[in-house]
Symmetry: C2
DNA sequence: CAGTGGTCTAGACCACCCT
DNA sequence: GGGTGGTCTAGACCACTGG
């Protein structure tokens, strides 16, 4: 079953523009897993024939999905479904720069621990799983230039990663999101972060080698799929004496009208 | 002197696409202040004649500037230069949501003080002015639902706002960026924020009615113009027990390829 | 109503990539 | 060379806005 065998319903009399209908049909192929991360999608001419529209309309639809981050066009090669990879990790989810610089460094990651435990009430609510379900709790330390500034706690539902083990996690050769994508067929498409200032507790202060009750930045990051299903709760505890969380934006970041 | 009197240089043999050349020519009109915030730009047909290209090419150029946030297209009305206004303030520069919600509330602003002082070394470096120059130091309190969570300290160069007074600042009827734009012809186009966790000092803890040394979030926001001239250093001190700094992003936020 | 931007067509030609 | 996406044309018609 290839995408070119599918039937698409484009209503030429609809109030919804055809390019948007095509965009939505293509998005549904992603949503329903008919187009998978890294896969080459049909070329523009094929889409023109499939949808019986002109090339400009196809290009507008594909362009929308590219702008949204779901497709990647490569001239001379074709159009591909976005996938998580080392080359896409960097800017997408890491926001820290050494004091006085604006350069986002690539962090060094050091594994600390991998445990199975019962979800807390809060974790169960966020992950939308029954209270007391099994979850994996994974700790990592992240650093820049051999100095550790960040402790990361990852909480994911065991039910969604039934075969995950400490060994598989440690021996991955790519990013964590790449592991979710390639080994568990779970694709994180959007993240939301909430930041607070807090005091370092015993665990965190020991791991970061700072005083108990030092002020730290706590980041709760929620990772979701195409279906807006919450997959991962990642809490970062950051000692910000030497680094900053950086957020750059232009004049109309977000919808303003 | 209207924009339609200007001569534009489009090189049809250049390696740079024509739509990008047109985008750059239009951007230069903004940069050189020939098109001003809120102004209606020439309609598409006029641009077609000015640049001697087809409508699709003009639309691609204008679309790029719209995506970048510099122009706003309104069907039936025309295309306008972006301007700072109450309706654009909300999502662009305020990132806080009450605990447990994702809704960015509109903050209440309360004036505290307006002083003239000498710039510190750091302030002078950031604002690119001589050390010891005069700056205005303005304090505000920001709150949500009648509770204050944020102290804002604004530092701007007196030389760039020579006629600004406490009275003018207080009696403005719109946002601060709107005041810069309309009364001082200074247009902030991009902001960069750096966040750290710190301990509240005497001033901040008193203003926010929290204990000395409570952990707070400190945000340094730098506001720049089209010319990448730094205009404003705004430092926010935030008590985050009841609110979160929220940052949402999709899978390819930032350039990843 | 006239004027604006939004959608859509049916191509042509170019730049890029792999073999 | 053959296939891909990128640019560009020269229109037509539609949807929305304000007077």
């Amino acid at each position: 079953m290839s995408i070119t065998d599918l039937q698409f319903n484009i209503d030429r009399d609809s109030k919804t523009p055809m390019w948007l209908q095509i965009r939505n049909e293509l998005f549904n192929c992603l949503y329903r897993d008919e187009l998978r991360p890294g896969q080459l999608i049909p070329n523009e001419k094929t889409l023109v024939d499939l949808f019986r529209v002109s090339i400009g309309t196809v290009r507008k639809a594909v362009g929308a999905l590219e702008k949204e981050g779901f497709l990647i066009r490569k001239q001379g090669l074709g159009t591909f479904v976005f996938q998580h990879d080392k080359s896409t990790f960097h800017f997408a989810y890491f926001h820290f720069a050494l004091n006085g610089t604006d350069e986002i460094s690539y962090p060094e990651v050091e594994f600390i621990s991998f445990e199975t435990k019962k979800a807390t009430k809060y974790e169960a609510k966020i992950l939308n799983i029954p209270a007391g379900s099994n979850v994996y709790e994974i700790f990592n330390k992240l650093g820049i230039n051999k100095k550790n500034y960040i402790v990361d706690k990852i909480i994911i539902s065991q039910a969604k990663f039934p075969t995950l083990t400490e060994e598989i996690f440690i021996n991955r050769t790519n990013t964590i999101y790449n592991l979710y994508q390639n080994k568990f067929n779970i694709f994180i498409t959007n993240c939301s972060e909430k930041l607070k200032a807090m005091s370092a507790d015993k665990t965190v202060s020991a791991l970061l080698n700072i005083k108990l009750d030092s002020p730290i930045l706590r980041i709760e990051r929620i990772g979701q799929t195409y279906h807006n299903e919450t997959i991962e709760l990642r809490t970062s505890f950051v000692h910000t004496n030497d680094i900053d969380y950086v957020n750059t934006q232009n004049s109309t970041f977000g919808d303003t009208f």
